[in-house]
């Protein structure tokens, strides 16, 4: 339970990000909270302005019942994630697009409740009003609307809670709400993730309470008089219950659980043991039955190239007879290293440059330029922590500063230092961890002295889309990305030597390597030999452009290279 204590500390006090470089938590959460509220407020305002007049009119004339009632049902079935993803895929990222998606999400409950509220307005009251000579507009404004107000507020309240919940996944679309620490756990750490989850939960409960009170306040006096007096106590009771609820969460946790234990485990790397044929002069990995007792969990970070590498090592080791499981898509480099240190995984591929900058804080002017030197330095540093860095791949995949051809031509950009006069007008997109990395935003600020107009953190999967859609002027991409050629992007030359060599090395726990025997390293070194620059571009293209799965692509690599049959 101390994890919850640390999470609350994260909410209350500002601290350094996990690798230093940026401040997170405490007061730094306020801009996120503000964006969260702004997004919610704007979406609800628009949805109310659209839905209430429409439903008042439909209800008044008594038409569109099917629309009003079925809309709520359909609205419930549309997953919010699918809605956001649909908008990202078709319209791109940004505040406006997310707002649009949230408006669509917010309309059904408001529309349905308003409609029902008007239809349920006491017909006698409406008839009386008509008898008194009121016009249609007067009836709507002075009879039907006041009578429907409690239900309208109920609809708005439902929508507010829904929108607050959904705004949590807005960082997927480049809008930094309170969901950012949850989704980008690597930067903020587990405390940040849990802290933000607590904040979002409190925000939703608070909004619910405020609107419940408001709903009560707008009940017309005439109706209130006819209600039983002891209802008032329920507000206080509810507040106490809200506090109790967090406790109940824990009780429910142990309550329902036993029914569904041992359900869907993590899908193992499903590679059948290869046939062990006698074959001379080939690179086929031979299965060794002695290895079956060694259990290896291979991990990876959260982007295409990493998932492919993770799958390649997992399948190759399985072919060598090891019992292999995978834990791909762990998050950023800090998360992956922590998983390795904590024993959640036994191995994962890391880039030498990333290790030097993110883990060992090597200053830019001391970065080795030679790939072999970079690897030796990384290897020596990891050795102290009981981690072995296996010999690196031939390919190197650096961070790159990318702009569109159009931007490069317009501003005359060829080198990163050319950005000097323009950075103040340009928006930079990068992964959330970019803010604290010397080979990313931090380096651009400190080494090149650039101050961008704005930095927007975004999921690595969107690094090219934000350039294409025009949301980003500058984006951080990887050397081996096939989209660079497809989109005709321009990579700016690193003229001040900010980027070290980025060959990939498989990091393995020393203890596991001792247990696994010589086949482990031999297998890894064998499959590494085919991993050239061209090969990685091809493999990335098969996933990012051809939409094959990393698992399929890894199998194809091993087969086409003759490592498995």
């Amino acid at each position: 339970m101390s994890q919850f204590g640390d999470a609350i500390d994260f909410i209350l006090h500002t601290r350094e990000a996990r690798s230093g470089g940026a401040e997170v938590g405490g007061a730094e959460l306020l801009p996120m909270l503000w964006t969260h509220l702004e997004l919610t407020g704007v979406s609800i305002a628009i949805a109310t302005l659209v839905a209430v007049p429409l439903a008042l009119w439909l209800g008044h004339v008594g038409r569109g019942e099917l629309l009003a009632t079925s809309l709520a049902n359909v609205g419930r079935a549309v997953p919010s994630l699918a809605l956001i993803a649909f908008f990202v895929a078709y319209l791109g990222v940004g505040f406006t697009n997310v707002t649009l998606a949230l408006v669509l999400l917010a309309i059904p409950p408001i529309l349905t409740n308003t409609y029902v509220g008007v239809r349920q307005a006491d017909r006698d009251a409406v008839d009386a009003a008509r008898g008194m000579g009121m016009t249609g507009v007067q009836i709507v404004r002075r009879v039907e609307l006041p009578l429907a107000l409690p239900l309208i507020f109920g609809g708005v309240r439902t929508s507010v809670v829904n929108v607050i919940a959904t705004a949590t996944i807005a960082p997927l679309a480049g809008v930094v709400t309170l969901g950012d620490p949850i989704i980008a756990g690597g930067v903020y750490g587990e405390d940040g993730r849990l802290g933000a989850a607590i904040l979002v939960a409190l925000l939703a409960v608070a909004a619910e309470a405020v609107f419940a009170l408001a709903q009560r306040a707008v009940v017309p006096r005439g109706i209130r008089l006819t209600q039983s007096p002891h209802r008032r106590h329920r507000t206080m009771r509810r507040t106490i219950l809200a506090l109790l609820a967090l406790l109940v969460l824990g009780v429910v946790a142990s309550g329902c659980g036993s029914d569904d234990d041992g359900s869907t485990g993590t899908a193992a790397a499903s590679t059948a043991a290869p046939a062990t044929q006698e074959q001379a002069a080939s690179d086929v990995i031979q299965s060794n039955p002695d290895n079956a007792s060694t259990k290896v969990v291979v991990g990876s970070k959260n982007f295409t190239e990493q998932k492919i590498l993770g799958e390649i090592y997992a399948q190759a080791l399985a072919a060598a007879g090891y019992t292999v499981d995978t834990e791909l898509n762990l998050g950023d480099e800090k998360t992956a290293l922590k998983a390795l240190e904590d024993g959640q995984i036994d191995a994962y591929p890391e880039y030498t440059g990333t290790a030097l900058l993110s883990f060992f804080d090597v200053p830019t002017d001391e970065l080795p330029k030679d790939p072999a030197a970079a690897f030796e330095q990384v290897k020596a540093d990891f050795e102290k922590d009981g981690i072995v860095a296996l010999p690196p791949t031939p390919f190197t995949s650096s961070n790159e500063v990318a702009v569109t051809r159009e931007t490069a031509d317009r501003l005359g950009l060829a080198k990163i230092s050319d950005l000097e006069d323009h950075a103040g007008d340009l928006v930079l997109y990068g992964t959330p961890e970019c803010r604290q990395r010397l080979d990313c935003l931090l380096g651009l600020e400190q080494v090149y002295g650039l101050t961008f107009k704005k930095f927007v953190p975004v999921d690595p999967a969107l690094r090219h889309e934000v350039l294409e859609s025009g949301d980003a002027d500058v984006s951080i991409v990887f050397t081996t990305d096939p989209q660079i050629e497809r989109n005709d992007e321009v990579l700016l030359e690193d003229d001040k030597g900010m980027f070290p060599p980025y060959n990939s090395t498989l990091l393995v726990k020393q203890s596991l390597l001792d247990q696994a025997g010589p086949d482990f390293q031999a297998t890894v070194e064998l499959v590494n030999r085919g991993l050239t620059d061209e090969a990685l571009q091809e493999l990335n293209a098969r996933v990012d452009l051809d939409k094959q799965t990393p698992e399929e692509v890894a199998t194809a690599y091993l087969r086409e290279s003759g490592f498995i049959e």
């Binding site: 919850f4 049902n73 419930r76 079935a77 997953p79 919010s80 994630l81 699918a82 993803a85 649909f86 990202v88 895929a89 607050i164 919940a165 996944i169 997927l172 949850i182 993730r193 989850a197 607590i198 979002v200 939960a201 939703a204 409960v205 619910e208 009771r237 509810r238 219950l241 809200a242 609820a245 109940v248 969460l249 429910v252 946790a253 309550g255 329902c256 659980g257 029914d259 569904d260 234990d261 359900s263 869907t264 993590t266 899908a267 080939s282 999967a461 889309e465 096939p482 030999r529 085919g530 090969a535 493999l539 452009l545 051809d546 939409k547 799965t549 690599y557 086409e560 290279s561 003759g562």
Partner: protein
Amino acid sequence: MTPLVAQLQIQDRGSGSEQSCVANDGFCPGWIVDNFDRYLHPLWQHVYLSVVAVACGFVIAFALAVLAHRRRWLVGPIVGVTGVLYTLPSIAVFFLLQPITGRGALTAVIALTAYTLLILFRNIVAGFDNVPSDAVDAARGMGFTDRQVLWRVELPLAVPEIVAGLRIAATTTVGLATLAFFAGAGGLGGEIFAQITFKSNVVVAGLLCLALAIALDVLLLLGQRLLTPWRRAGIAEAVTR
């Protein structure tokens, strides 16, 4: 170092309309047909999460409703507590539970179950309340015990409201389960998230969620018709009269 015997085949991606549709993240019917099988396992996970959560939620809500049916003062507190659970954003709960229950299907099922409680409880209570008191009195007059009244009179007559609650709970749960991959439980949301910019992928996975919600809804409706044959008879009678 000796050269490798074989080498990875480098493909030329210059041409082909289908190829460029997929490469440009478009909506490509051909790709969807060829790759539909990759959605089957996540779909199954999604079905599993939704069905188990609703079933679990139903058992708990039903027990609570029976309890509250006898002791009316319990209705307020139960609605209050399940109401707060319903208010908590699911993505927050998926992470709040992880320090306690770890990553995986268990965490997701607990969170999803918690969401169904309010809807199911309210509907089951409403169902019991709407049972005509004449029917209950008649049963008692025939010497039924409390237990017999519950199982043989009140429960069957409450089926329409209970099924209405199950239908809302099922569609809501299918929607919320798209976020279950944050708890490490897979499901169709994981597929959406894996290639969020690829239109074919987003549309197929999104539509599968919708289809699943509709399928569960229809199944529950059919179940209700099977469980309440007298209602159909009643409707027919009303029409002929």
